[in-house]
């Protein structure tokens, strides 16, 4: 009986074996990348808001401090969304007749709150507190990116647990001096020895907990 398969068919078998391994890992890798991508995390997806509010204009062009509107960022879990009255501090005279600001004026008149679309939406099972991060030297731009360059705000980080842990495991790579916390231009150190030493100094100075405390489950899931 003649052989059905020629010897060269072994190529096929070999390719299949290696191919299976490759395909398996490739599938896992693709799955992981999709899970980390903006499609899944919402990063870099611009959210259209009820009002065309531009952080680029208010922060970048006008130089208004973050805390003017996000008043409670240093003292409470939520950074604080400004009441309509805070918008009206300036806009009762500036752009007072603009049709873009009609929802703001209406809200001011009838007391009905503006409905913003949440951009950075952490899962409800994760506890997050702005004030502790601000007071330990984690800057706005570390998590929120260059807000002063965003006409429409989008998330720049994945907000996934692995991303949180990146800093909780080694805060010295990300902490900055407190006076730079609201500085949009501050860049994370590029991990030369001296810069890591500076980070470690800050870590001691601000009494930042050890990684085993920072990465304990109940630190964020409480």
């Amino acid at each position: 009986m003649p052989q059905i398969f020629r010897h060269s068919t072994n190529y096929l078998a070999r390719t299949t074996i290696f191919g299976a391994i490759f395909i398996l890992f490739a599938a896992l890798w693709v799955t992981a990348e999709i899970a980390r991508s903006g499609w899944n995390t919402g990063a870099y997806i611009e959210r259209q808001q009820p009002i065309q509010f531009s952080h680029k204009h208010h922060v970048g062009d006008d130089g208004i401090d973050c805390r003017y509107c996000h008043t409670s960022v240093e003292t409470s879990a939520s950074a604080g969304m400004p009441a309509t009255a805070v918008c009206m501090n300036c806009h009762k005279q500036i752009w007072a007749d603009s049709p873009y600001l009609k929802p703001v004026r209406d809200s001011f008149k009838d007391g009905k709150p503006l409905e913003w679309i949440r951009v950075h939406d952490l899962p409800d099972f994760a506890y997050f507190n702005h004030s502790i991060h601000i007071n330990k030297g984690v800057g706005c731009s570390t998590c929120h990116g260059r807000i002063d360059q965003m006409p429409v705000v989008s998330q720049t980080q994945s907000l996934q647990m692995e991303w949180c842990l990146e800093c909780h495991r080694a805060p010295e790579n990300y902490v900055r001096p407190k006076e730079k916390v609201f500085d949009m231009e501050w860049r994370p150190r590029n991990s030369s020895k001296a810069e890591i030493a500076e980070g470690l100094d800050l870590k001691t100075k601000y009494h930042i907990q050890k990684p085993d405390v920072l990465t304990s489950c109940s630190t964020c899931h409480r």
Binding site: L28, T31, N40
Partner: protein
């Protein structure tokens, strides 16, 4: 070709031994035993496939229930209330613990024993100090001001006040330059405000003044007094002949396009 042939042969041999190990008990009398041997390879495959499927379904939103729990968090809308807000304002007349605020001078900037207020106008500028312009307001800051307080005052001033009043207090902040000028924000370096008691500034920050709204919701009481301390430093810095001016206070920014009153 030779090598591939060798490989093929080797592979063939390996496959044979593998099959032999699986089917080695083919001769076994118990058919169940044979099945037990055969099944693991199959179920492992199923397991792997299941794991892969589970991994994929992670992406598609079976986590949503825990992700968005039906609980009240800051600023989340809540259909239970008529106005739709989950964050509730305090019921009128509520006094939270620690907010009794009995010290009238500290919390209102008004003198404890208030004399009957004399009528006054906002714009009246009195040159003489004999008749006080704001008789109800406390003259000095009712708390001790340290260097740290002054620094904090400067920081808060730059956040909340400088947008309109300018970094040096000439009433020429970015908002004023962009058109908030009916009337223009006050210039601190005028006689009326140089002579105004500390309590006046507190009153303005707390209750608003003219076109300026109340900043009570944005600036806590303690910070209002610290800002006033910094305001005083700003005023001193622009009087030129003051011996107390140091380099911190006397570094004016360039004023653009605004009239100094």
């Amino acid at each position: 070709m030779g090598s591939s042939r060798r490989f093929g042969v080797r592979w063939q041999a390996q496959r044979d031994t593998a099959l032999d190990s699986v089917w080695s008990d083919r001769s076994s009398a118990d058919p169940k035993r044979r099945r037990r041997f055969a099944l693991p390879a199959h179920s492992k495959l199923v397991l792997v496939l299941l794991l892969l499927t589970a991994h994929c379904s992670l992406l598609t939103g079976c986590r949503r229930d825990m992700q968005d729990q039906p609980k009240a968090i800051a600023y989340r809308e809540n259909s239970f209330y008529k106005d739709g807000t989950g964050s509730r304002p305090l019921v009128e007349g509520t006094v939270p613990r620690g907010y009794l605020r009995q010290e009238r001078e500290y919390y209102t900037g008004k003198k404890s024993a208030a004399p009957s207020a004399t009528p006054q106008t906002q714009t009246a500028a009195t040159q003489s100090t004999s008749t006080p312009l704001y008789p109800d307001d406390v003259e000095t800051i009712p708390m001790t001001i340290t260097k740290a307080d002054l620094d904090r005052g400067q920081e808060r001033y730059n956040i909340y006040c400088s947008a309109c009043h300018g970094m040096t207090g000439y009433g020429d902040g970015i908002v004023a330059r962009r058109g908030f000028n009916k009337p223009s924000p006050a210039n601190y370096h005028q006689d009326r405000l140089r002579q105004a008691p500390a309590g006046h500034f507190f009153d303005v920050m707390t209750n608003g003044w003219g076109a300026m709204p109340s900043y009570a919701s944005q600036i806590p009481v303690e910070d209002r007094w610290r800002i006033i301390a910094y305001l005083r430093a700003l005023q001193l810095s622009q009087q030129g002949n003051s011996p107390t001016v140091n380099d911190r206070g006397s570094s004016p920014t360039v004023r653009e396009g605004s009239s100094r009153k």
